[in-house]
C-alpha cells in the first residue's frame, strides 16, 4: 500500500494507525507563525469503531490502508458466519461475529448492507439506514392512542429491542432507524 504525506490527508482517506485500518474524519493544520507545523487529525478506527485524535508532524508520511466498501445483500447465518452476496456477480462473502458486531440485530434477509473490506476480508457490516422488522413481543396491556407518552419496549424478530408508541402491537411490522435504534413508523 502507498504511503500518504500529511499534505494528502483529507476526510475519508484510509490509513494505518497502531496496526489498525482507520478513516480520517477531520484534518486540521496547526502552525505557530514561527515554528513547526503539525496536523491534528480526527480518525475512526474501522475495526473497533473508536474515534480518536492524533497529531502528526507536517510532512511525515503514514502507511495507507487497503480498505474498500462494497454493497452486498444479506442472505443467512449458519451461526458462525453471516453470508452476503453481490446481486450482480452472485459472488458471496462471509463475515464473522466480530465484523457484524452489534449490527447483527438489524440484519434482514435481502437487505443490501455495506461491507467494509480490509485486505479483502470483511471487518465491518453497516446495515441500511432504515429496516423493517416485525414485533414478536410487547406488552399488549398498555393501551393508548397518542405517541409521545414515552412508549413501551418492543422485541423484534432479530432480538432487537426498541421503544415504540403504546398503540403498536405484536405482529405489526415497524420501520426503525438503525443509526439511532429509534422507531420511525408502522409499516402497513
Amino acid at each position: 500500500m502507498a504511503n500518504y504525506s500529511t499534505n494528502e490527508f483529507k476526510g475519508g482517506l484510509k490509513i494505518m494507525i497502531d496496526g489498525e485500518p482507520c478513516t480520517i474524519l477531520e484534518n486540521e493544520m496547526v502552525k505557530p507563525g514561527k515554528g513547526q507545523a503539525f496536523n491534528r487529525v480526527k480518525i475512526r478506527k474501522l475495526i473497533s469503531g473508536k474515534v480518536l485524535e492524533k497529531t502528526f508532524k507536517s510532512g511525515d508520511s503514514v502507511e495507507g490502508a487497503d480498505v474498500m466498501e462494497t454493497d452486498l445483500a444479506y442472505l443467512y447465518t449458519d451461526g458462525e458466519f453471516w453470508h452476503f452476496m453481490n446481486n450482480d456477480t452472485f459472488e458471496q462473502i462471509a463475515a464473522d461475529e466480530k465484523a457484524v458486531g452489534d449490527n447483527v440485530k438489524w440484519l434482514v434477509e435481502n437487505d443490501v448492507c455495506t461491507i467494509t473490506l480490509w485486505n479483502g476480508n470483511p471487518i465491518a457490516v453497516t446495515p441500511p439506514n432504515f429496516v423493517e422488522l416485525e414485533i414478536t413481543d410487547t406488552d399488549p396491556g398498555l393501551k393508548g392512542d397518542t405517541a409521545g407518552t414515552g412508549g413501551k419496549p418492543a422485541t423484534l424478530t432479530t432480538g432487537a429491542v426498541v421503544r415504540v408508541p403504546l398503540f403498536v402491537q405484536i405482529g405489526e411490522v415497524i420501520k426503525v432507524d438503525t443509526r439511532t435504534g429509534e422507531y420511525v413508523s408502522r409499516v402497513k
Partner: protein, 324 residues
C-alpha cells in the same frame, strides 16, 4: 462547470465589516503619528527561517533577459527595517504576505498582515500599544501577560528553559505525542508542539493574552534579554485559541543577525531544506544603523474573524485559495 466556485467565500456584510476595521486601524495610527508605507511584495531576497516556505517566481524584461529570481514576501519585515535605517521614524503597513505550504482554518497561503515599528519602544511599551488597538477594534478587556516560562510552569509544570530533551520527550508521551517525540532530536519543536496543543487552548479565552520572553533558541529577529540571555525580547499575542501577533524588541546588531541567518542555513542543511541566500540589503541597513525599536506583525484576517465571530479564515477574505 458546476464545480467551479465563482462566488466569494466571505459574505458581503462581513467584507463591509472588514473594511470598517481597516479604516479604524488607519485612524488609530494616524492619531498616533505613525505613517503608512508600502514595500515590495516581490523581493530579490527571501528568508532563512526553517519553518517558512516561500513562493518563487522571476522577472523577465528589460535588463533581465535571462530572468531575475524574485520571492513573494513572507512578511514586509526586512524592507520596513531598511526604511527605519533610512530614518523613517514610526511606520506601519497593511499588506499581503505569502507563505507556501500553509492552508487551513486559520491559514490561507496569501493573507493580510499589519506590521508596525516603533523607534524608542521596547517590547513592553509595544505590548501596551497593541493592547490599546485590540480594545479599540474588538471592544475587549485589557490583555493579560505571562512569560513563556511561567506559562509552561502553570499549565504543564515544566521549566521550558532548563528541561532536557529526554524529560521533554517523556512529557510529550504523557500527552499522547509518542511518535512525534520518538523521532525528534531537538527541544524547540517539542516545546512548540506542547505550546500550541496544550497551552494555547487554555490562555487568552476571555481577554487577549501576551506571552513574552520566548526562549533564546526561538528568538527569531529579537534581541536577547540583557538580564537573562536565556530569553529573548520576543512576544506573541493569543486570543480565543488564535495566535494573533508576533513581536520583537528588534535585533539591531548586523553581525549577530548575520550569524543567526547562518545558523538557520545550517539547520536547513540538517533538515535537507535548500540553503537560502542572506538578504544583504537588509544586513547593510543594519550596519548603517537600525534605531532601537520594537515591531510587531498582526494577522488582519484573524482579527476580522474574532471581530465578526467567524470560524474560518475563508469566511473573512473575499476569495480563499480554493476560489482564487
Amino acid at each position: 462547470m458546476n464545480d467551479v466556485k465563482w462566488a466569494p467565500s466571505a459574505d458581503i456584510e462581513t467584507l463591509k465589516q472588514r473594511a470598517a476595521i481597516l479604516a479604524s486601524i488607519r485612524m488609530f495610527f494616524a492619531e498616533r503619528g505613525v505613517f503608512e508605507v508600502e514595500t515590495p511584495c516581490l523581493s530579490q531576497a527571501s528568508v532563512t527561517d526553517v519553518h517558512l516556505a516561500t513562493f518563487a517566481t522571476q522577472f523577465v524584461g528589460p535588463s533581465y533577459a535571462k530572468g531575475l529570481p524574485l520571492y513573494l514576501q513572507t512578511s514586509p519585515e526586512f524592507a520596513m527595517k531598511r526604511l527605519l535605517a533610512a530614518g523613517s521614524g514610526a511606520i506601519y503597513q497593511i499588506g499581503k504576505a505569502f507563505r507556501n505550504e500553509e492552508s487551513g482554518r486559520h491559514h490561507n497561503p496569501e493573507f493580510t498582515m499589519l506590521e508596525w515599528y516603533r523607534p524608542g519602544f521596547d517590547e513592553y511599551l509595544l505590548m501596551d500599544e497593541i493592547d490599546a488597538l485590540m480594545q479599540c477594534i474588538l471592544s475587549c478587556g485589557k490583555a493579560t501577560r505571562i512569560s513563556y516560562q511561567a506559562a509552561f510552569e502553570k499549565y504543564l509544570s515544566i521549566d521550558p528553559l532548563t528541561i532536557e530533551l529526554d524529560a521533554l520527550k517523556a512529557v510529550c508521551e504523557q500527552y499522547g505525542y509518542t511518535e512525534i517525540a520518538a523521532q525528534e532530536t531537538s527541544v524547540d519543536p517539542l516545546l512548540q508542539l506542547l505550546f500550541c496543543m496544550e497551552i494555547e487552548p487554555q490562555i487568552g479565552q476571555n481577554v487577549p493574552c501576551f506571552v513574552y520572553h520566548f526562549p533564546a533558541s526561538q528568538a527569531a529577529l529579537a534581541k536577547l534579554n540583557e538580564q537573562d540571555p536565556r530569553v529573548a525580547g520576543r512576544f506573541e499575542l493569543y486570543f480565543k485559541g488564535m495566535e494573533l501577533a508576533n513581536g520583537f524588541n528588534e535585533l539591531t546588531n548586523a553581525t549577530e543577525q548575520s550569524q543567526r541567518f547562518d545558523e538557520d542555513n545550517l539547520q536547513r542543511q540538517q533538515m535537507a531544506l535548500p540553503k537560502v541566500e542572506k538578504d544583504n540589503r537588509f544586513l547593510m541597513a543594519l550596519e548603517q544603523g537600525l534605531p532601537n525599536c520594537a515591531g510587531v506583525a498582526l494577522g488582519i484576517d484573524r482579527l476580522v474573524m474574532l471581530a465578526t465571530g467567524k470560524a474560518s479564515i475563508k469566511d473573512v477574505i473575499a476569495f480563499d485559495i480554493e476560489r482564487a
